[in-house]
């Protein structure tokens, strides 16, 4: 009888220990707002993307260019400077803006940076390895009309256990030939954090 009690108590305690230590992971909707630390998170990125996409496709630069040139503008994505106090990757919301260009079919998009380097390298490889009929030629790339650049800034005001964090994300669209800034979109996010 004693042995049985011992065995049962060991089993119960082992179950309790294992259940308390086990990690639980659940899938959530990416649009669900969950704030844990108060730092920049997916909700901030999503809100920024939504504002920028809505703004950039309805701004007058688009119709002005289409009317003047008779074709849709071509945009290249430049650099985004993160001058805030946190590590923020702008690609999470800039990609949403790029996707909106393609899905709306109103704006053309060309590759830049490392990806463009890779494309040119592939083209170079084709010059000696691909068949003549399938080989892609150099010098036929689409030249961009506009460049999308941006910056992220922040202001932190804290006192003891209270903190207000303010983020300002700015995206600018500039005419490459004339340097004229044709659109500036911004998203301001302020958070009050009480520890």
């Amino acid at each position: 009888m004693k042995k049985l009690i011992y065995a049962a108590s060991i089993l119960v305690s082992a179950t309790l220990i294992l259940s308390s230590c086990s990690r639980k992971v659940t899938r959530i909707d990416s649009s669900e707002q969950i704030d844990l630390s108060g730092r920049w998170n997916n909700t901030d990125s999503r809100l920024t993307a939504e504002t920028m996409v809505k703004d950039i496709l309805s701004a007058p630069w688009l119709s002005a260019h289409t009317q003047a040139k008779g074709k849709k503008p071509v945009v290249i994505v430049g650099m985004v400077q993160n001058k805030s106090h946190e590590h923020i990757e702008a690609e999470t919301f800039v990609k949403d803006v790029e996707r909106s260009f393609i899905t709306s079919s109103k704006v053309g998009l060309v590759q830049g940076g490392k990806k463009r380097e890779e494309l040119r390298a592939e083209k170079a490889d084709q010059q000696t390895n691909a068949s003549s009929s399938t080989m892609k030629k150099f010098g036929l790339e689409n030249g961009a009309d506009f460049i999308l650049q941006g910056s992220i800034n922040s202001i932190v005001d804290s006192y003891k256990r209270k903190k207000v964090t303010y983020y300002q994300v700015d995206l600018e669209l500039t005419n490459i030939e004339t340097n004229e800034v044709v659109w500036i979109g911004d998203k301001k996010i302020a958070k009050y954090i009480k520890n």
């Binding site: 994505v77 430049g78 985004v80 805030s84 804290s158 256990r161």
Partner: protein, 136 residues
């Protein structure tokens, strides 16, 4: 007469060539800038589609407090490690290990003797130079 005609023809063709090259209202000195940026374009454009992280350290009471706590913990850990490594400085064994405690450091306590059991080690320990170095 022929010379005058030839002169005008040359001047006219030269002007025509310049006129064809320059767009309307284009700066005639544009080539200076073009040549400069032709050399730079590869390095400048490498950062396209990326985020340049130029973050700063914000004044944050709680974060600073946590950082100070972590620094204290790290300092205490380092101190413990240093004491363990140079134990002869902290106990009365200095007469026994005045210079070093080769071939094993007392960093992690008991040494693993197995790793010294190889021909290179036998040769080292068997050499008079080694013992000369050990008790110099």
């Amino acid at each position: 007469m022929k010379t005058i005609l030839l002169f005008f023809a040359i001047v006219f063709s030269g002007l025509l060539a310049i006129g064809q090259e320059l767009a309307k209202d284009q700066n005639p000195n544009y080539a200076t800038s073009r040549d400069k940026y032709m050399k730079l374009s590869d390095s400048v454009n490498a950062t396209q589609s990326t985020t340049a992280q130029q973050t700063y350290k914000a004044i944050d009471y709680l974060a600073d407090k946590e950082e100070a706590r972590d620094a204290r913990k790290q300092f205490r850990r380092d101190l413990r490690m240093e004491r363990a490594r140079h134990s002869y400085l902290y106990n009365d064994m200095s007469y026994r290990y005045p210079r070093n405690n080769w071939p094993y450091s007392s960093y992690y306590g008991r040494p693993n003797y197995q790793r010294f059991n190889n021909p290179v080690m036998w040769g080292t320990v068997g050499s008079p130079f080694f013992w000369n170095w050990m008790y110099r």
